[in-house]
Amino acid sequence: MESIIEQFINGLRSGSIYALIALGYTMVYGIAKMINFAHGDIIMVGAYVLYVSITDLKMPVIPAVLFTIIVCAILGIVIEKVAYKPLRKAPPLAVLITAIGVSYLLQSVALLIFTANPITFKSIINLDTIKIGGITIPGITIVTLVVTSVCMIALTLFINKTKAGSAMRAVSEDKAAAQLMGINVNRTISLTFAIGSALAAVAGIMFICQFQSIKPTLGALPGIKAFVAAVLGGIGSVPGAMLGGILLGVIESLSKAYLSTELSDAIVFGVLVIVLLVKPSGLLGKNRIEKV
């Protein structure tokens, strides 16, 4: 029994990281109607920036974390301005290919600077393991759960309660009408990319504190899984991304522990296939009915 609970909490941990990344996919999709396949690589960039700012620039932990988040947010804005904005009226396929190109570009630059050898990273979170009854919870798990929950609550409040948040909702529904109501669409899109990338940076930091190793392809797998989480929850839906991420993490963790480690990814993607067969718009996605 204890071990099931431990595995479940493990799943919550990785799931909440997926959820943070999935939020970036889903917000960008909602606003720019594109899948930003370079999003996973922001995680990797965040990991390297944190590593460099702590080991090379000798920054203390908190400023290094903030610095990492800011660098990633700016990178997100720059990528949108340089690569995606000129293609805003282009067919979706062109944007998709560009996003994949940006993804490879980021990986190749990391490869050039840091080589393909994994770098060992010592976790910046040193919290002791906690025992409640017979259950042991590693410190990093607790920190991850707290940080990701705070991020998700803050984001939800931001989207629903602030001026910029309501502008984001308006732009995601009808860009042209929003513009005619005085909303600066370009600024709103930039802000979305900045927030998405900042969340990816946080996810990246949590991720490397767990696995303590950095390489240029680090972002690929969590990126893809978070994308699956976003689709599972209903792409474009913010609560959907959170639910999808956590669900995916828990399923993955439980199937690793009780079914098969090798097959865990297959099970995760299998769940996606089944959900999409039953509900093609994802768990919390809205079915779009075209009125004729």
């Binding site: 309660k161 602030t162 001026k163 910029a164 309501s166 502008a167 909702r169 308006a170 529904e173 009808d174 042209a176 009408a177 929003a178 513009q179 005619l180 109501m181 005085g182 909303i183 600066n184 669409v185 802000l191 809205k286």
Partner: protein, 252 residues
Amino acid sequence: MNLLEVKNLGISFGGLRAVDNVNLLIEKGQLYGLIGPNGAGKTTVFNLLTGVYRPTDGTIKLDGVDLVGKSPSEICKSGIARTFQNIRLFKKMTVLDNVKTALHNQQGYSLAESFLHLGSYFKREKSMDEKALEILKVFDLDGQAHYLAGNLPYGKQRKLEIARGLATNPKLLLLDEPAAGMNPNETAELMDTIQLVRKRYGITILLIEHDMKLVSGICEKILVLNFGMELAAGTPEDVLNNPEVITAYLGE
């Protein structure tokens, strides 16, 4: 004094001259009608005025300020608001949020401010709510403030669009076929609302309409477009008795 001065306005899409040499002088406080057969270029004129399209020639001045080349959001801030022929509300947002989104971007505060002064954030949000409800009350929508906009009945959605336009605090309000799809009762009610809005907010209104009863009932001046060009302009009586206008509408 003229609020809106449009001179020699024109736009071509490739070889198609959609609007050609249109002049429009609207005085402050006037209720002006823009009519014409289907495809005459009425909505295109709206799109030119609001910056959705950039004119190939001509000038547009609002209160003496040149608007040509400004982005739609800038033009909205300089004082032109509009509604759409096919309703374009933010359907998944509440009625209140639709109006607040427009309010926010008029006299907004910056993102940094909303984080730095959380106290005044709540105060501002509260006054924003009150302002939005006040506007909704004019349109008899305050009872449905927390409905999703997409769930309102059709006539009310049309009204909400006008309310949302008003919330941007415009000098000039453009209404694109406000009575489209309404029954005679709803149209009559709408005419009253438009009159009321005009008196209460003292704004100038330019409207596109097919319902002749509505146009001749409330507009002080009318411009008739046909094939993108001016066909006639003047008071409703002059214009509607003009033989050329009758021909354009009914054929020979």
